[in-house]
């Protein structure tokens, strides 16, 4: 029983960052319809920003997280403006190839700048974990969960309660009509891609210090993000959050009770199962943002 409780705790920590990855991708892939192969690179980018700010510049750990979010936002905006805006209206295959190219180029740039050796980030948290009866959890992981939960709530409020969020939803439900209401549709596309990218960077910045940081770390994260989006239904924010936690639970249980080698296979198994049994995702179409 205590082993199961421990898995649940781990699931919460992992699920929070998976939810961030999933929300970011559901905005871009689910509602903008861009098969975003750069999502994993943005995750890696966020982790390296953490490394630069904490290890190379020697600044505060807690300052590094907002820096990573802003840097991810900026890189996302640059990708949208330079690669996607000129391709607006071209078919999905063209966009996909360009995004694959961007993924390879950016990953190679990471390798070129920082080398292939894995890096770690020192954290201000105590080594000894917090012990609660039969289970224990490290302070760093608790912080990761709290920060992820905060970012999820902020994103939810941004999309559902602000004028920008309203314009985003309107644009992806009916672009022409949104522009008839006075919405600058180009600006909404750039903002949405930038917000999605900043969430991927935030997930990387949060999980980077938990594990180690290396140029290919985003590849697996990207696959997991696609699994979460497919599981939750395209464009469904709540679905992405729940999907993130379901994937985390499946990974924890798969690793704990089957074999730790199966951890990363769970995402692929979920994609296969969802596509066979419920291709629209677990949650209703009516919950879609766009």
């Amino acid at each position: 029983m205590s082993e199961f409780l421990q898995h649940l705790i781990n699931m919460l920590v992992l699920g929070g960052t998976y939810a961030l990855l999933g929300i970011g991708l559901t905005l871009i892939f689910g509602i903008m319809n861009v098969v975003n192969f750069t999502h994993g690179v943005l995750y890696t980018f966020g982790a390296y920003i953490m490394f630069i700010v904490v290890q190379q510049l020697g600044l505060n750990f807690f300052l590094a997280l907002p820096v990573a979010v802003v840097a991810g936002w900026l890189l996302g905006a640059v990708i949208e403006l330079t690669l996607l805006r000129p391709l607006r209206g071209s078919d999905i295959d063209t966009t996909m190839l360009v995004m694959i190219g961007a993924w390879i180029a950016m990953q190679s740039a990471t390798l070129w700048i920082w080398g292939g050796v894995a890096k770690s980030v020192a954290t201000p948290f105590p080594e000894a974990p917090l012990v609660l009866g039969p289970v224990s959890v490290s302070w760093l992981r608790l912080f990761v969960l709290a920060a992820a939960a905060l970012l999820i709530v902020v994103t939810y409020l941004l999309i559902n309660r602000t004028k920008l969020g309203c314009a985003m939803r309107a644009t992806f439900q009916d672009q022409d009509t949104a522009s008839l209401m006075g919405v600058n549709v180009d600006l909404i596309y750039t903002s949405t891609f930038a917000i999605g990218s900043s969430l991927a960077a935030a997930a990387g910045a949060l999980l980077g210090p938990v594990y180690v940081i290396f140029p290919q770390m985003g590849d697996l994260a990207a696959v997991k993000a696609f699994a979460i989006v497919i599981l939750g239904g395209l464009g469904n924010i709540t679905g992405a959050v729940i999907g993130g936690f379901i994937l985390a639970l499946a990974e924890e249980l798969g690793a704990g009770y089957i074999s730790s080698g199966y951890r990363d296979a769970m995402g692929f198994l979920i994609i296969i199962a969802v596509l066979i049994f419920k291709p629209t995702g677990l949650f209703a179409r009516s919950e879609r943002v766009g």
Binding site: C166, A170, S179, L180, M181, V183, V289
Partner: protein, 234 residues
């Protein structure tokens, strides 16, 4: 108020408008009639900036709006209530109305305008928290009209407001459009129901194959032999 000079417009290789000129005087209700595919909707889409014209010029209150994008056209005072209602289906009734006021910064006034729309259409008030996609066709039409009014336009363009609605709702929609004109807002109406449009308008244009072939008062067009034969069923 609105002057359109010799607009040519097309999608890809197809030319939809072959030189359209028309005028809308302030305070009038002007109707644009014609068959399916004659270019009525494209004319409205060209005016509101959704389809930039290949040549020609457009002026609103003397200011050129020929290649202005939709947000600028709306800001200059022209609202476009599109064909098929086009409410945002996954947004609530209230969010749809607020989208109509997207460019306005005066939130107290916007709230007051929203209350006026709710008074006018009590069904919308009852359903303000409901997703617009769940409303009936007639309710969606009321919402689309209300949303267009939320920008406080000086000219409002309606594209086929009667399309797909039950006869009693059609009556009601036309009554609302007349009331909007009587309250001082200029109206440009595109309508397939030629008789109803000609009966209520001050001035009308007949479009055929992307050209204006006839213009005059509504009464004059109703009497016209060609209009009677081709559009009024005898």
């Amino acid at each position: 108020m609105l002057e359109v000079h010799d607009i040519v417009c097309g999608y890809g290789g197809v030319t939809a408008l072959r030189g359209i000129s028309l005028q809308v005087q302030a305070g009038q209700l002007v109707a644009l009639i014609g068959a399916n595919g004659a270019g009525k909707s494209t004319t409205l889409r060209a005016i509101s900036g959704l389809v930039p014209p290949r040549s020609g010029q457009m002026f609103f209150d003397g200011k050129e709006i020929t290649r202005a994008r939709p947000p600028r056209v709306l800001a200059s005072g022209i609202a476009h209530c599109p064909e098929g209602r086009r409410v945002f289906p996954h947004m609530t009734v209230e969010e749809n109305l607020d989208m109509g006021a997207y460019l306005r910064g005066d939130s107290a006034e916007v709230a007051a305008d929203r209350d006026r729309i709710y008074q006018e259409f009590p069904r919308l008030a009852e359903r303000r928290r409901q997703a617009a996609g769940t409303l009936s066709g007639g309710e969606q039409q009321m919402l689309a009209i209300g949303r267009a009014l939320m920008s406080r336009p000086r000219l409002i363009m309606f594209d086929e407001p009667s399309l797909g609605l039950a006869p009693n709702i059609v009556e009601r929609t036309f009554a609302i459009i007349r009331r909007i004109r009587d309250a001082g807002t200029t109206v440009l109406l595109v309508e397939q129901n030629a008789f109803a449009a000609l009966e209520m308008c001050d001035h009308a244009y007949l479009l055929e194959n992307g050209r204006i072939v006839l213009a005059g008062t509504g009464a004059a067009l109703i009497e016209n032999e060609h209009v009677r034969k081709a559009y009024l069923g005898g």
